[in-house]
């Protein structure tokens, strides 16, 4: 395991220090407990958005803190949900009096820690709502599992809800919008290689030269099944098919197509996947109104991709297009 680190237990703190040094104009980094807020937090009268999760998914979430997106992010240890004290401190730091929305990826650890933090924040008089993102269609029988995981849809929810909060929507409306995004987005991913958590020092699984993990999450865990490697076009089909089958859409719907890199896959390959995914979407009568291509929700250096498809309405479209000024996503200002 060769990594540009100094020590496994310093990875998160030192990366946060680097973020502070690089993006002091946009964000403020707090230590002990660790959280990142936008530089001008709290914004009076604005609903605040807080998210978080394990580190190692960068730019998610810390890179999405800033005007038009998150007010705060809570980074846990690598691939480990943050603790309630981080979330509580972040929640209090960004509450501008209009309440705080917790955007939580559906993993047991994230859900439990955010739940505890929300209870504590409410005890301290902060209005908190939580929305769980669970867009991963790789998880099939959600009755017999912890439910679908939150993956690529999280990025889209954070952006769109950030736009709505910035526009002055109230807590109930932003939370409702977040649920709407979540129920209109579906995602699925695959890994060509494993990744290595610094603490573990070795890859989380091994794959032969002709094997891939299909239906992976973002924590270096094995996927739903191990299959033989296929062409990019075939793999794009295999990801798009269950997504489209699951997403209640009709012909002529406008969609946002998001081809995400898991970390180790170069952009040139992501564009090859995008090309085919767009073709498939069009063949289903969908109009690709917006697109996003790149490593936005990653699994350290894992090679692989995930595809997310979001059915847009005018409200989502408007807030997707709204200005955003964060280290990881920026336009319109």
């Amino acid at each position: 395991m060769k990594k540009l680190i100094n020590a496994a237990d310093k990875v998160v703190d030192e990366a946060l220090a680097g973020m502070a040094a690089a993006h002091g104009d946009l964000i403020k980094v707090h230590f002990e407990p660790n959280f990142i807020t936008r530089a001008d937090a709290p914004v009076r009268g604005k609903v605040a958005l807080v998210s978080g999760g394990g580190s190692g998914h960068e730019p998610l979430h810390g890179g999405f803190v800033g005007r038009g997106m998150l007010d705060a992010a809570c980074p846990g240890a690598v691939f480990t949900s943050p603790t309630p004290d981080q979330i509580l401190a972040a929640t209090k730091a960004v509450d501008g009096g209009a309440g705080v929305l917790h955007i939580v990826k559906n993993y047991t650890g994230d859900v439990l820690n955010f739940e505890m933090a929300a209870d504590l924040a409410k005890d301290e008089g902060v209005k908190v709502e939580a929305v769980i993102i669970d867009d991963d269609v790789a998880v099939q029988d959600s009755l017999y599992t912890a439910g679908r995981r939150g993956v690529g849809g999280t990025v889209l929810a954070e952006k769109i809800c950030g736009g709505a909060a910035e526009a002055g929507q109230d807590l109930a409306a932003v939370a409702e919008l977040c649920r709407k995004v979540n129920s209109n987005v579906r995602s699925m991913g695959l890994a060509l290689t494993p990744c290595t958590v610094p603490h573990a020092g070795k890859p989380s699984f091994t794959l032969e030269e002709d094997e891939i993990e299909f239906g992976v999450g973002i924590h270096g865990e094995p996927g739903r099944k191990r299959i033989k490697m296929e062409s990019a076009d075939k793999l794009a089909e295999m990801l798009m098919e269950p997504i489209i089958a699951d997403l209640p859409f009709k012909s002529e719907d406008k969609v946002l197509l998001f081809v995400n890199g898991l970390g180790g896959t170069p952009l040139v390959e992501l564009y090859i996947v995008f090309r085919k995914a767009a073709e498939i979407a069009k063949a289903h009568g969908l109009t690709i109104a917006r697109s996003l291509v790149g490593p936005y929700i990653t699994s350290l250096e894992m090679a692989g991709t995930s595809i997310s498809l979001l059915k847009l309405d005018d409200e989502m479209l408007r807030y997707w297009d709204a200005p955003v000024v964060t280290p990881g996503l920026r336009w319109g200002a």
Binding site: P33, G54, G76, A77, V78, F79, T80, S81, P82, T83, P84, D85, Y107, T108, G109, L112, N113, E115, M116, A138, V139, Q140, D141, Y144, T145, A146, R149, V197, H199, A200, S204, F205, G217, H219, G220, E221, P222, R224, K225
Partner: protein, 205 residues
């Protein structure tokens, strides 16, 4: 051995737990890598290290359990942080007012803790979680006569419970995403739960 669990014995327990978790950190993380995300050992090592650092000299078992619970909640993260944290917090509530616990009191306290885990995790036994080690441990503690027997029986039952998770298909936590692929591997949380209860049996010996 003493017939009561008092603050010195409980303190010894947590020190022993810290040592044992540190020694098996890689093993626990490897179990987690197979069906989860490979951090369980690191999570608990971080947590119990913080526990022994923070423990100080609590007034009674209730205060001790509360400190342990809050420290785990504040340092572990992941699923196991709130779960083990809730367990100790609930044990603290159940131990309120007692300066030491006899066998029966310990069984009640442990039961309250395990109920806390089940409530927090919305889980039942058979779903391949720490509950599969903890639930039989409560039953064993209740059925034993005397503290020494109760602690040994609980540790042994937890170990068997953890071993029984190998054949289970996970229904809770991130191992559940693997569906049938989760079978054939011991659950890391059940394994660490058994470890904690053997640490107690050892520390009280």
């Amino acid at each position: 051995m003493s017939e009561l669990l008092d603050v010195p014995v409980l303190t010894a327990w947590l020190k022993r737990a810290d040592e044992m978790v540190a020694a098996r950190q890689t093993y626990l993380s490897d179990l987690d890598a197979a069906i989860g995300d490979g951090d369980h050992g690191a999570n608990l090592a971080r947590g119990f290290h913080a526990v022994t650092a923070k423990l100080g000299t609590p007034a009674d078992p209730a205060a001790l359990f509360k400190t342990v619970g809050m420290t785990l909640i504040g340092t572990v993260g992941g699923a196991s942080g709130p779960l083990y944290g809730s367990m100790f917090v609930e044990m603290g509530k159940a131990a309120a007012g007692k300066s030491a616990l006899d066998a029966a009191a310990w069984a009640d306290v442990l039961e309250a803790g395990v109920k806390g885990v089940a409530a927090r995790g919305k889980a039942v036994p058979g779903e391949k979680t720490m509950l599969d080690a903890l639930t039989p441990a409560v039953a064993a503690a209740k059925g034993a006569a005397g503290l020494s027997a109760a602690l040994s029986a609980a540790a042994e039952a937890a170990l068997q419970g953890a071993e029984a998770t190998v054949s289970m298909i996970a229904r809770k936590g991130r191992a559940s995403y693997l569906g049938e692929r989760s079978a054939g591997h011991a659950d890391p949380g059940a394994t660490s739960a058994a470890l904690l209860l053997s640490a107690l049996a050892e520390a009280a010996r």
